[in-house]
Symmetry: C2
Subunit: 376 residues, 2 copies
């Protein structure tokens, strides 16, 4: 989806400043022994800004799962510097980490709510759990009376949040405790024409109209559905990190994988585990230092490519734990590194080849990469 | 494959001491807000011991990829305590970490060889690179003359190591430098009847017979192929961690995932993203605090189960980033946590459901789990 309004102008300006020429050389000037994951914090900020500008109310920032795999220690402060004042994480532990990173001030909301045993951390780190059930509500008000909370409502996804009947029974009691936020989550926001969106919007309105409490229904997909879905707070997530359904998001992650060696393989020779690929013509094969232990799924082998500038290099045979073998026959010169993520191939293209979504590619990015941050 | 010989007796003794009763209750006595990954170091030691006892020569230990995802800081010392004196990692960075963990003494071999820029680390951490090409050989002897090294040979997998022709040209020069080890790796060791095994054995012999240098060809699968494949050093890897093809390996990892809430879903109601699952009968659904950001692939949704004691609970709808929804209708009582890994379901069963191998399940185990080690 393309972003309407002022956010798009922001993005266009930023894009022109961003070097998207895929013909430029390697991202590292040094000899490369280790895979290099480069994360553009300015792009994350610009993507958040675009989604925030399009939101009719305030925009929070979703930084769960270690900032979608990109590093909450850098992503959190960058978003705070851009103006985000509310953050969402999945679990209390993540909230404690984020509080340490951000310091006092910003509101940190826990989507998983108040889990048993978490009261001390919630209090000490000043976290705001989104209570998902009567059990969690009772746990919260007993353990931490007067401590801020929000309520997550189930508007039809049947995953997290209070059911309509549960909420009806609890609503007056909950509202008397001054919740900070009433929120729900859309199951099909990535499909704008899906009838589920209007159904959930209607259900959420029925559950919350007249409460006077700030409301939030939309993450990235919901923001792009338009202002009806925005309410007082939106929750940009995947779009900040350069993933669909925000088609105009600036790319955020670049991943360059070092070449260990190359070899010439003759017709009839096999490459990799299980002899899964057999050469039919003379082929030059490069062995790359990265594998599924780095979050590059074995499933990528079937349809995956790495890139050398503008040239794509097909993955041959299986993805190993620490190694990938690719066809570099067509390259005049084999560079020090090939790109899995870069100007020619983003997280969603990799996800398509694996048969998953960009979110899973991002959150799977491994711990062995040397991570560098630009645009801070 | 079942292990012949003395290793099996070791394993049987250990198995009887290991509580495999799947009816026992939760692994944590405390309220569970965070997923608990429990790693049995004694099982890792017993598995290594069994494979080492069966090896005709010495057995090393492969601990690349953070000890196959289980934590090199604990796995490395446990194996050293069991008697392992040689370790294999993939990259120099991993070797540096392992040296810090183990201290001086054990030999640490780098399968990726000597990459550009790594000389200082290789020297300072006393690492032994397995040189994979003439380029690496030149780099090594130029940067670190006299520093120990091994040579990796390509016996047919066409992934890492010197080609027969390359080796023929370099062999005399290399042998004059006193390599510590000549090694190669089998492409099809998991398939004992595959003709590739005998082909690679013959090629490896042709390349190394008469050199007088210690040799290594077999990892776990190769060990199980029998003594012809053992040479002076074997390299147990996946079998230590409880994965196939070592069918008699003791299970090593237990993973319990907390229940956030449960709800009753009526026929016609959908669960999760994309309305991917729709109830046909009244169903009780538990929402679990773990998802693909924790290494539980989205692909598991199609055929995956979690376990409550002896009862299996089908995954309903999609696996989300931080959440899984499962069918708990049949349970009399919903426990605080369900098991992804445990007595009723090991890494290979999970791998089967995803369409991958146990190795990828292990190395994907996420960083948000609370990790506890037993049997140290």
């Amino acid at each position: 989806m393309t972003l309407p309004g002022s956010g798009q102008a922001q993005l266009d300006r930023r894009r022109s400043a961003f070097d998207l020429d895929p013909g430029t050389a390697s991202y590292s000037k040094h000899p490369m022994a280790q895979a290099q994951l480069s994360i553009d914090l300015a792009a994350i900020r610009a993507n958040w800004r675009a989604l925030a500008d399009f939101s009719t109310g305030e925009a929070a920032a979703v930084v769960k799962a270690n900032g979608y795999g990109l590093g909450i220690g850098r992503v959190g402060p960058a978003l705070a510097a851009e103006g985000a004042r509310r953050f969402f994480v999945a679990m209390t532990d993540e909230g404690v980490t984020l509080r340490r990173v951000l310091g006092p001030g910003p509101e940190i909301n826990i989507l998983g709510g108040h889990m048993a045993g978490d009261a001390d951390q919630i209090r000490d780190a000043d976290l705001t759990p989104m209570l998902n059930s009567i059990d969690q509500m009772l746990r919260h008000v007993e353990a931490l009376p007067g401590h801020p909370f929000g309520v997550q409502l189930d508007s039809g996804m049947n995953r997290l949040g209070m059911e309509p009947a549960e909420w009806a029974a609890l609503r007056d009691i909950a509202l008397a405790q001054s919740p900070r936020l009433l929120m729900s989550h859309l199951a099909c926001a990535d499909e704008p024409d899906h009838g589920m969106n209007a159904f959930q919007l209607r259900t959420f309105r029925e559950m919350t109209d007249g409460t006077g409490v700030p409301r939030s229904l939309a993450a990235t997909g919901g923001i792009l559905l338009g202002p009806d879905y925005h309410f007082e707070l939106t929750r940009p997530g995947i779009g900040m990190y350069g993933g669909m359904p925000f088609a105009d998001a600036l790319p955020v992650a670049t991943l360059a994988l070092p070449v260990i060696q190359t070899r010439d393989v003759s017709p009839g020779e096999a490459v990799g585990y299980g002899n899964a690929w057999v050469a039919r013509v003379p082929t030059r094969v490069a062995t790359i230092s990265a594998g599924y232990a780095d979050g590059i799924h074995r499933a990528l082998a079937a349809k995956g490519y790495l890139w050398a500038g503008n040239s794509r290099c097909k993955i041959l045979g299986r993805v190993s734990m620490d190694l990938i073998t690719v066809d570099v026959t067509a390259l005049e010169q084999v560079p020090d590194a090939l790109h899995l993520l870069g100007p020619k191939q983003g997280v969603d293209a990799v996800a398509d080849a694996i048969g998953t979504i960009g979110y899973e590619v991002l959150t799977g990015l491994g711990s062995r990469y040397a991570r560098t941050y630009t645009g801070a």
